[in-house]
Symmetry: C2
Subunit: 325 residues, 2 copies
């Protein structure tokens, strides 16, 4: 079994986190992660209103008596959701942990702190991690170029980003992006992280609220089957390669602008992919790590397997390379 | 101390390799790596003629009685060097190991095999690694997106590429790209590799035959200070970001062609950077891992430190996360 200081600070059994994922981070998955000893995050903006989020938190509480959190991601938006109201629901619900992402947490941090909510801030560069640490967050999740969703614009993969960050981050830090199994967990720990945050891997589990076709595609797809879109807007997103992503890339390559792809990438179409299982209906996210995903276990099987195999890897394979001289 | 099956197959003490580097892989550096227990590679094409390579091999033999190898990289070229003659020098010299790169090794493999030369093939994708294994090479060096020089066009970082490759590669395999220290070695071993191949890290050593300014720049630079050039030519190279690389990127971004940058990137100018220490004189290579390089040790200090700290990391930090349940 595997335990780090992340577990002590965030009150969980294993240093394994299911980070926020739009349309996926719902009570069924999050409670399964909690019950298996990990830390799962509901995704605030998956709920259409702050009231719906309050209800989803309530539902999750019915399914587990272990800690879980809520992700609050703030991204550039033409018509922003009521972030403050979502934030206040998180605080008032008594959920003990929030995962912030996509923005400098300064604006919302005092409210979270006053409400006794621990803040795990997800970011994609060492300078943002250092800034968040200075602001007083409780943990960092550092997200490499491999990741699904928003890798930032620096393109630094975890193999370099994780050790570079640990040289400046003294609070508990998770590695995120490109991680799916015990090999990734042990590598992340070796590179200096205190645990791992996984997204794509949790989508390919029994409890993930997405259509079976999505899960099967993750199993079938290789590490090559992702696309980066919106690079020219400096709002890069890594998504599953499909008919829509290919068209979007092609439109931008020909000098197109956001208005030319607005309809193609509308969030409702991405949600429909998860609901109806037509993989080419819209943009949906997947990380390169899909190339390492070969099955669709239950969350409990997945987490048990990772911690068990991590122990075997450390004591077995790594122990065996050490020789007396 | 650290030992894997790579050491047995290639006859060296530690699974740490100094891979081929144009203008850098010369007898002084390579013999220092050999004497410290690693496997160093002379770079064949750094020598103006096959006869010069034969002399460099001879010089290296005067400096060490331990095994070393020669790198033979074949890249797209308007006026190709006499590859077959270089190859035959490698075979006839009695050097026991060659690092092939940049091309499918099929054409030259029979000659190497017949000459008793072990072949370590460096490539940037799982499919090329599988192909080389089928052809009968003795080892693979799998090179991630982070790397200096030629990362290929797939952009798969080591955190995903290494485990993806180990699922299909059964012969000894090194991880390459983004690695500079014990953290990287242990991470690579955890991900399934049998050792590491480093380039940039060895440039910042006492024995590397490059100007002190280059070494100091590697220490000062961060992981962000590299550029990818020649992407539109599908011959991508990761180089140190400087005035020239910035200009080259800008010319290509404006629709420029190779002819427009030919003078800027002429190899002789890159060589001059190393010789005279004017860092903006031409294109020179550096990997993202420069962000993890903070000193200029001797090769012996570097290798000793890596193997010692790797042992401490496995027994200490990783051992400590294991708890009884």
């Amino acid at each position: 079994m595997v335990r780090t200081r992340f577990c002590d600070v965030f009150g969980v059994e294993y240093p394994i986190v299911q980070g926020g994922m739009q349309w996926v981070g719902r009570a069924g998955l999050v409670s399964a992660v909690a019950n298996a000893g990990g830390l799962g995050f509901l995704t605030a903006l998956t709920q259409p209103t702050p009231e719906d989020l309050a209800e989803e938190i309530y539902r999750c509480r019915q399914l587990t008596d272990k800690p879980f959190g809520v992700n609050l991601t703030i991204l550039p938006s033409i018509k922003p959701p009521p972030y403050v109201e979502y934030r206040d629901v998180i605080i008032e619900s008594g959920v003990g942990v929030v995962e912030t992402a996509g923005f400098n947490p300064a604006e919302h941090l005092p409210a979270f702190k006053a409400g006794g909510v621990k803040v795990l801030h997800k970011c994609t560069s060492v300078r943002h991690a250092v800034k968040a640490q200075q602001l007083g967050v409780d943990g960092i999740s550092i997200d490499g170029f491999e990741c699904a969703g928003h890798p930032g614009e620096d393109d630094i993969p975890g193999l370099v980003l994780i050790p570079a960050a640990t040289e400046k981050i003294t609070i508990p830090m998770l590695a995120s992006g490109g991680l799916a199994d015990a090999r990734g967990l042990v590598a992340a720990l070796a590179l200096g992280a205190d645990g791992i945050n996984m997204g794509t891997r949790f989508v390919a589990t029994t409890e993930a609220p997405v259509h079976e076709n999505v899960k099967r595609r993750l199993v079938e797809a290789s590490e090559h089957d992702t696309d980066l879109i919106f690079r020219s807007l400096r709002n890069t997103a890594r998504v599953a390669r499909n008919a829509v992503s290919t068209e979007v890339v092609s439109i931008f390559d020909s000098g197109g602008q956001f208005d030319d792809v607005r309809e193609l990438v509308a969030g409702v179409r991405g949600r429909k992919v998860y609901e109806v299982g037509d993989l080419d209906l819209g943009i949906w996210t997947a990380g390169m790590v899909q190339g390492l995903i070969h099955d669709i276990p239950t969350v409990s099987e997945l987490i048990d397997r990772i911690v068990t195999e991590a122990g075997e890897l450390i004591k077995g394979r790594l122990g065996d390379v050490l020789i007396q001289k």
